[in-house]
């Protein structure tokens, strides 16, 4: 019983230390605020996702056309719109990057 209680107590102490570790490591930090994406970064992230989505869609259409899954007719009907989507996403991204601050490095 004594050994079990000792082990249990040691486990509890170890856990308390693990939980307190962030405060023990930085007792008086310069800032305790969460490092979150600001509005510019969030907008840029959304546009990056839009760009990647448009590029992936174009790539998949090209491949499906090559395999014959997408016919010439359907390919011609879609490829223009998808290229415009990619161009629009890239332009919007360039605009935001031009307007905003350069991306800062987060640790």
């Amino acid at each position: 019983l004594t050994l079990a209680l000792l082990l249990g107590a040691a486990l509890a102490v170890g856990c308390v230390v693990a939980v307190a570790l962030p405060f023990l490591r930085e007792p008086e930090p310069e800032s305790d605020a969460l490092d979150e994406l600001d509005d510019d970064d969030r907008r840029r992230l959304a546009l990056l996702e839009e760009r990647d989505r448009a590029l992936a869609a174009l790539k998949e259409l090209e491949f499906d056309h090559r395999t014959g899954t997408v016919s010439d007719e359907d390919y011609r009907a879609q490829v223009g719109a998808l290229r415009r989507d990619v161009a629009a996403a890239l332009q919007a991204l360039a605009r935001v990057s031009g307007e905003g601050q350069p991306a800062r490095k987060r640790n």
């Binding site: 969460l34 970064d41 840029r44 990056l48 869609a57 998949e60 009907a77």
Partner: protein, 664 residues
């Protein structure tokens, strides 16, 4: 050392409660160190739960019957492997396993994503902690595995049907699946709470969801095989409530895995996807509730317990809070993109989702109907096999067909002329297959014939996709056909791994249709030296013997098997009488034909003192395709789960463009 187990679980409860309260407070007020402290608490709770699990495992292996749990689920004579499986064989142990896997998954998911998705993780931690707190509370206060007593001379032993090698893998895999669905749930709810609706929660949970879904799928197949070889009633799926309990979250997760592709590729269905994640997790909780509460009659309900009301309360709270959260965030979740055409790949995925959901809800209604009828009319009315079979055909057959249609339709829209060209070959294959099967007599079961015809269609589309894709890769510069084939898969693992999984589902459908729609059964009471016939088979009852097994008396009837004039050897079927457990189990005899996939399945229903035996014999065509489907499913799942370096590089590049750490 039950005290150490109890202390470890108490510390776990303290840690998860702290992670819940401190984590929510830190996320709400934006406190970095407190958020990190809450994350550490969640990780530490895995360590303390592992200590508790080690104490229980040690007690099981030492046959320490002063633990009530050990005495109730094992005995001295129980082989070691089954003594280990007793960990999840009873209620308290299985709840501890839930908690262990949950805290382990929570610690891993948080640690892997704490840098690049830190603004999301701060909200994910309290959600994980809330679920973990519930389970920690159960094992501390309601169903402790560390309750003790004066040790009896021997334990009560294990239910005979659980003494089977499948029990070493089937329940843990189901738990990995159930608990794994907590990860997408925690991230989805975390994203809703944080108001972060970018793709990171989907990226962070994609492989977790696939893993949970694959574990649930394989776990169910192993369970079906266990039922087939061990329970001894001649089937592999009885629409038992507890079997359904595992099927429902798998169906919901399958729907999510398809609809999430529409969100990733078109930015649509954000609300729908979050709702599917909530549904899958709630059904996983419901499944655990059904298995462990003993609220419904089931061959799997090994215990009646008091945890039912706690579970129902937690499920109700989870569903209500999650739906309220979705409602609150509805304006931000609306997608600007609309469905462009009802004839498109996203539309096919949507139809697939509706059918999966309809099947899932039909099964749910069948499971809860006895409870509702008992509450309303005072009499539990159980919906039988015909109810489930009807909905399986009504929704399952169109689903099977859609598996072939979806991959051949273009995203956004497809012209009818294009469809006619694309579907020409698979349609010809399906029509020819249907006509050949009809001429061979498969028309005796129309659903079976339709299932086979649709299966031929789907297999043709899958083969066509692989052939065309490999040709395209070769044309794009691959040096050889094998290189082109491997490059095709490695460049789009999810798409081509998905096709392999579809092939597995087709094999499964063929196996189910063959073994259920075209099977035959014969029954006879035979004395030694007598014979019986079923189909082309003749069975000669030769002898009956009794022998002592490790923990049971084994009685076996030996039958000679012939097919026409050909001698196929012998088959044994009988019963095991377990001394300690005071129970008798059927031990069936199965002869598999590896070439045709057919089984000859023999049950010794009743063995009389004079040595005569009442036999029930089945011939199940193609049933082995079901188990083969499991292997193909595993291969397809592994392909989809395998890390994709190209995608990883793209995600890292995207993250670094907004200043997030390159590592996840």
């Amino acid at each position: 050392m039950p005290e150490l187990g109890r202390a470890a679980l108490l510390v776990t409860l303290g840690l998860t409660t702290y992670a819940l309260v401190a984590g929510a407070y830190a996320a709400h007020l934006g406190r970095r160190r407190l958020a990190r402290s809450a994350q550490n608490a969640l990780v530490a709770s895995f360590v303390t739960t592992a200590v508790a699990a080690a104490v229980l495992l040690s007690a099981l292996l030492r046959n320490d019957f002063s633990f009530i749990y050990v005495a109730r689920t094992t005995s001295e004579a129980l082989p070691t492997a089954y003594t280990i499986s007793a960990f999840w064989g009873g209620q308290e142990g299985s709840l501890l396993l839930w908690l262990l896997v949950l805290t382990g998954f929570g610690a891993a998911a948080v640690s892997l994503n704490r840098r690049w998705a830190r603004d999301l993780i701060v909200w994910v931690v309290p959600v994980f902690a809330a679920v973990a707190t519930f389970f920690a509370f159960l094992v501390v206060a309601v169903a402790s595995p560390f309750a003790t007593q004066s040790a009896p001379a021997d334990g009560a032993g294990m239910t005979p049907s659980l003494q089977n090698p499948y029990m070493l893998a089937h329940p843990p895999l189901l738990y990995l699946g159930y608990v794994g669905l907590t990860v997408p749930f925690a991230f989805a709810i975390g994203a809703l709470l944080a108001g972060k609706f970018d793709e990171r929660w989907l990226i962070a949970t994609r492989r977790w969801t696939l893993f949970a879904w694959a574990a649930l799928g394989i776990g169910q197949l192993l369970g079906s095989h266990w039922a087939y070889v061990e329970v001894g009633w001649g089937g592999y799926y009885a629409w038992d409530p507890v079997e359904n309990a595992a099927l429902m979250p798998w169906l919901a997760a399958t729907a999510f895995l398809h609809s999430v592709m529409i969100q990733e590729k078109r930015g649509m269905l954000k609300v729908w996807n979050v709702l599917l994640v909530i549904l899958a997790f709630s059904l996983a909780l419901f499944g655990t509730f059904l298995t462990r509460s003993g609220v419904v009659n089931s061959i799997h309900s090994f215990t009646e317990s008091s945890i039912g009301p706690w579970f129902l309360g937690f499920i109700a709270l989870t569903v209500a809070a999650s739906l309220a959260l979705v409602f609150w965030r509805l304006p931000q979740l609306r997608s600007p993109t609309k469905l462009e055409s009802p004839v498109s790949r996203e539309a096919a995925f949507l139809y697939n989702n509706l059918l999966l959901l309809a099947l899932c809800l039909a099964i749910l209604w069948g499971v809860v109907y006895p409870l509702i009828s008992e509450a309303v009319r005072g009499e539990a009315v159980v919906l039988g096999r015909s109810y489930y079979d009807f909905f399986l055909r009504a929704f399952g057959l169109p689903l099977l067909l859609l598996m072939g249609i979806g991959p051949l339709i273009a995203w956004r829209r497809a012209s009818l002329r294009s469809l006619a060209t694309t579907f020409r070959v698979p349609t010809i294959v399906a029509v020819v297959a249907g006509a050949v099967l009809l001429s061979l007599g498969a028309g005796s079961s129309m659903p079976g014939l339709v299932a086979y015809t649709f299966s031929a269609f789907v297999l043709a589309t899958i083969a066509l996709e692989f052939v065309r894709g490999t040709k395209a890769r070769k044309a794009l510069g691959a040096t050889s056909w094998p290189t082109a084939f491997s490059s095709l898969i490695s460049r789009n693992r999810r798409r081509y791994g998905g096709y392999v999984v579809h092939a597995a589902i087709v094999l499964f459908a063929i196996g189910v249709a063959g073994s259920s729609a075209f099977d035959s059964v014969a029954e006879a009471k035979l004395a030694k030296g007598e014979s019986m016939r079923i189909g082309d088979y003749t069975l000669d009852y030769r002898s009956l013997e009794e022998r002592a097994g490790p923990n049971a008396t084994e009685i076996r009837a030996t039958l000679g098997v012939r097919r026409g004039d050909r001698d196929l050897g012998t088959l044994q079927a009988g019963k095991n009488a377990y001394t300690i457990e005071q129970q008798v189990s059927n031990e069936v005899g199965i002869r598999s034909d590896r070439l045709t996939g057919e089984d000859l399945f023999v049950i010794a229903e009743q063995i009389d003192p004079d040595g005569s035996v009442y036999f029930r014999v089945f011939v199940k065509p193609l049933v082995n395709l079901i188990w083969l489907a499991g292997l193909v499913f595993l291969v397809g799942s592994l392909i989809t789960l395998w890390p994709d370096r190209r995608e990883q590089r793209r995600l890292v590049a995207r993250a670094s463009e907004v200043g997030l750490p390159a590592t996840r």
